[in-house]
């Protein structure tokens, strides 16, 4: 700030982005976008993945420098060169990925975030001040606990508290509720809403959940493919009109209706236990039967053992005790067993868990069958033209956008990597399908296609185990719903009769 300049107005800050254009090389990430956040309002920024929401807020926070356009803070043009400048103006951001240091305590994280960390920290005094600060705040966190030991909800509260502790007056929240139960989400957003209403704070929230926009936001700005697709008062809009602005004219895959008969038991888990990387019990005495023609959904907040459970079923982790049976046979996730029982797997983070990033799309598509005819003769000589032919067929069928079958799969977008895995796993016959957060971070078109494929597999008689952190997805697809908390199944309900509040309560462990 230039000396002699009048200081920014007191109270909540308003931020305007005026005609912002951002280019990364040839790629136009933002094209003449305007965003006006009035001081003391709760503003939502809606858009699909890749619509440019993150790029826009990163321009505001000084991570990126807009190719064209200006950022106005408190009604005045500001050159924000880096995040430190933004912090000095009173702008703060809560990131989608936590920026707390897991191995440190909550108190250490809070003190560390300050711009003026003392050279030698007097912990007794700092803790006293932190206690006094927390007493004024709507939510509480355990100061002396290590961040790695507290729940995702508490971590999110910590992130928000950290910004308030730093006296930010304009807060950007990037998908703040993606790791919270519906109850926690309402609690946190409700408290933030109260702070906005009581003055002193402006909030800009990036989200794709219409429910939260309708319930908490005053105004909304919608982006589509780097362009402004619409804005206005939330009171004047409906979820449908917002969805249309988000998606545009794109056609979505229609999900087939739920048909077919319940078959025999296909996948049986009995008293399964597994430990996590730190050696703690992650999955505890889990028993479950999934029958053919049925989708069983596993709900739960991330980090309650779902990952380890899927890893055991995928053969990536050894079970400590208990057993898994597929059609009555003991199952240990060997390649031969997977093949015999026609197991398919859609793991989370497919690029990491189901692909070899540096290998081509064609090679990745052939992983299940590459050592058999027609891909290989006599089990060792690979027939490259068969790889290519099969890949071209699947690329067309599953609408995988890739330059060629020989492109390394890591060069594809998230949605297209997941489409490729989908093509490989669901392209043939399927008797058991295990899917873990299959739509995480994907756009509407990809989500609709994946949901349709999972439903189609179920209708063909497959037993489907669907692990997801997205309750809406589970309620839409599942026949039966199980809630996982601290490694155990704590609640079970028919999806058609499921009560959202009841499920939310079990997800939070009450």
């Amino acid at each position: 700030m230039i000396i002699g300049e009048t200081p920014l107005p007191e109270g909540p800050l308003g931020v305007d982005a005026v005609a912002v254009t951002m280019k990364f090389g040839d790629f136009l990430a933002l094209d003449n976008v305007a965003l006006k956040v009035r001081p003391g309002s709760f503003h939502a920024l809606l858009g699909e993945n890749g619509a440019g929401k993150s790029t826009l807020v990163k321009c505001i926070m000084g991570y990126y420098h807009a190719t064209e356009g200006d950022i106005m803070v408190g009604g005045r043009e500001q050159a924000i060169a880096n995040p430190k400048d933004a912090h000095a103006l009173g702008l703060g951001m809560v990131y989608q990925h936590f920026t707390l240091v897991p191995a440190m305590t909550v108190a250490e994280n809070l003190v560390l975030a300050r711009d003026d960390v003392p050279a030698i920290v007097n912990w007794a005094k700092e803790k006293q001040e932190l206690e006094a600060f927390l007493a004024r705040m709507p939510f509480k966190v355990p100061l002396n606990a290590r961040v790695s030991d507290i729940s995702a909800g508490e971590r999110q509260k910590c992130e928000i508290l950290k910004q308030l502790y730093l006296r930010r007056r304009f807060l950007i929240l990037d998908e703040p509720t993606s790791v919270l139960t519906p109850g926690e989400a309402d609690e946190v957003l409700g408290m933030l809403r109260d702070m906005v209403v009581n003055g002193g704070l402006t909030i800009l929230m990036i989200t794709h959940k219409f429910r939260e926009v309708m319930a908490f936001a005053d105004e909304v700005t919608i982006l589509r493919r780097g362009k402004l697709a619409g804005n206005g008062k939330v009171a004047d809009l409906t979820p449908d009109s917002m969805a249309r602005m988000m998606i545009g004219a794109e056609e979505l895959t229609v999900q087939p209706p739920r048909v077919g008969q319940l078959g025999e038991a296909r996948l049986e888990l009995s008293k399964l236990c597994a430990i996590d990387d730190a050696g703690a019990v992650a999955v505890e005495n889990v028993s479950l039967t999934v029958r053919g023609g049925e989708i069983v959904g596993i709900a739960g907040v991330s980090g309650n053992g779902q990952r380890q459970l899927v890893e055991v079923l995928a053969g990536q982790r050894e079970a400590e005790s208990g057993e898994v049976r597929v059609r009555g046979d003991l199952y240990s996730a060997s390649r031969e067993e997977m093949r015999r029982h026609k197991m398919s797997l859609l793991p989370e983070e497919p690029l990491r868990n189901a692909c070899v990033g540096g290998m081509s799309v064609a090679d990745n598509l052939a992983f299940r069958e590459f050592d058999r005819a027609p891909f290989a003769s006599k089990g060792w000589w690979l027939n490259r033209s068969a790889f290519r032919k099969d890949a071209e067929r699947k690329i067309g069928l599953y609408k995988i956008k890739t330059r060629s079958p020989d492109t390394p799969i890591s060069a594809l977008s998230g949605g297209n990597v997941q489409r490729a895995v989908l093509a490989r796993e669901l392209g043939g016959e399927v008797e058991v399908l295990i899917a873990a957060n299959p739509c995480f971070g994907l756009d509407f078109a990809a989500v609709a296609q994946i949901h349709a494929e999972i439903m189609a597999a179920r209708n063909r008689g497959a037993a489907v185990l669907l692990v997801s952190e997205d309750l809406d997805e589970l309620l839409e697809l599942s026949d039966r719903l199980v809630v996982m908390f601290h490694g155990q199944f704590v609640h079970e309900a028919r999806a058609s009769e499921a009560d959202l509040t009841e499920i939310g309560r079990h997800m939070a462990g009450h």
């Binding site: 880096n82 995040p83 430190k84 912090h87 951001m93 990131y95 990925h97 936590f98 920026t99 707390l100 240091v101 897991p102 191995a103 440190m104 250490e108 003190v111 560390l112 975030a113 711009d115 960390v117 003392p118 050279a119 030698i120 920290v121 912990w123 430990i275 990387d277 730190a278 050696g279 050894e318």
Partner: protein, 308 residues
């Protein structure tokens, strides 16, 4: 007893004295590496830094007549090598392990080249404090002649332990090592933090090297280090990145290394080479007992290239 025949008591006494003597370079290198690794980088080049430090210390001590100037020179040489490591590692797509191995060869090679004329002359050596003045038994007096560098290292371990917890620099180093995203989000430059941590690590390792040439064995030759730098890097993992545990691990390692010579001095000659291997057997055994394929190492900084 005053005639100096202590019988079997000679063995623990010699192990005690040996532990302090042998452990000093391990202590300095492991504390230095502890700082570097807590910032999220592994510097395997500390073997080269150790040898370079030994050579610089010997050369400067010989030229100036002051061993303490030699120690300072060793530290500065180490810090320069640390800066070189950090500088190369801050370039995109550079692997810190590969750079470390290259610098290990570079450091030892450079030290041998520059140190050729230093093999003959004798340099002024570091002093030791006589804590055994009260005894007339020569073995007790020998064991209690404690070098000053060890005492500095002994003080440094708890200071570092405290500093990691309660100073700004300690918190920043840990943040850079545990989550570079978090550090960046707070507006800190991870590369700058790691540069300083690696330089301080190099400084301490260089001082560790000065101990070799200026106290024990107390001369400069090319076989001086024989892998002590690299062993000290392993000790940090063994000590779970905790400065206090680095101290105990160095002492245990030094004590085990002194076992062979101590037993030999009382006439146990069978299995001499086996006893000399004791520190390695000890390390291997503890590693096997405490490691598990199913768990990640506890206490490992999350940003290290081996844990990521």
């Amino acid at each position: 007893m005053s005639d100096g025949s202590l019988g079997l008591w000679t063995v623990p006494l010699a192990v005690f004295g040996g532990a302090i003597r042998v452990s000093t370079p391990f202590l300095f290198v492991s504390l230095g590496e502890c700082i570097t690794e807590r910032s999220g980088r592994i510097n395997l080049g500390l073997e080269g830094t150790l040898v370079m430090g030994a050579m610089s210390a010997y050369g400067i001590s010989y030229l100036s007549g002051s061993p303490w100037l030699g120690v300072l020179a060793a530290g500065i040489a180490g810090a320069m090598l640390g800066a070189l490591h950090a500088g190369i590692c801050s370039l995109p797509r550079v692997n810190d392990i590969a750079v470390g191995i290259a610098l290990m060869l570079f450091g030892t090679g450079l030290a041998f080249y520059l140190g050729k004329p230093l093999i003959e002359p004798t340099a002024a050596r570091l002093p030791a404090i006589d804590f055994g003045w009260w005894s007339d038994v020569p073995q007790v007096r020998a064991a209690l002649r404690i070098n000053v560098l060890f005492l500095i290292g002994l003080a440094l371990a708890p200071i570092l332990y405290w500093a990691f917890k309660t100073t700004r620099w300690g918190l920043l180093i840990r943040t850079a090592g545990e989550s570079s995203d978090a550090a960046r989000a707070m507006g800190y430059s991870v590369l700058a933090i790691r540069l300083r941590a690696t330089m301080v690590g190099g400084f301490l390792s260089g001082i560790g090297g000065s101990f070799l040439s200026l106290f024990y064995p107390g001369s400069w030759n090319e076989g001086l280090s024989s892998g002590q730098g690299i062993t000290a890097v392993a000790l940090v993992i063994f000590a779970r990145w905790d400065p206090m545990l680095c101290l105990w691990a160095s002492l245990a390692f030094g004590g085990a290394a002194a076992l062979g010579p101590a037993l030999q001095s009382v006439g146990v000659t069978s299995g001499y080479h086996l006893f000399n291997a004791a520190p390695y057997i000890l390390t291997l055994a503890i590693m096997i007992i405490t490691c598990s394929p199913k768990r990640t190492l506890t206490g490992a900084p999350a940003e290290l290239s081996i844990t990521r």
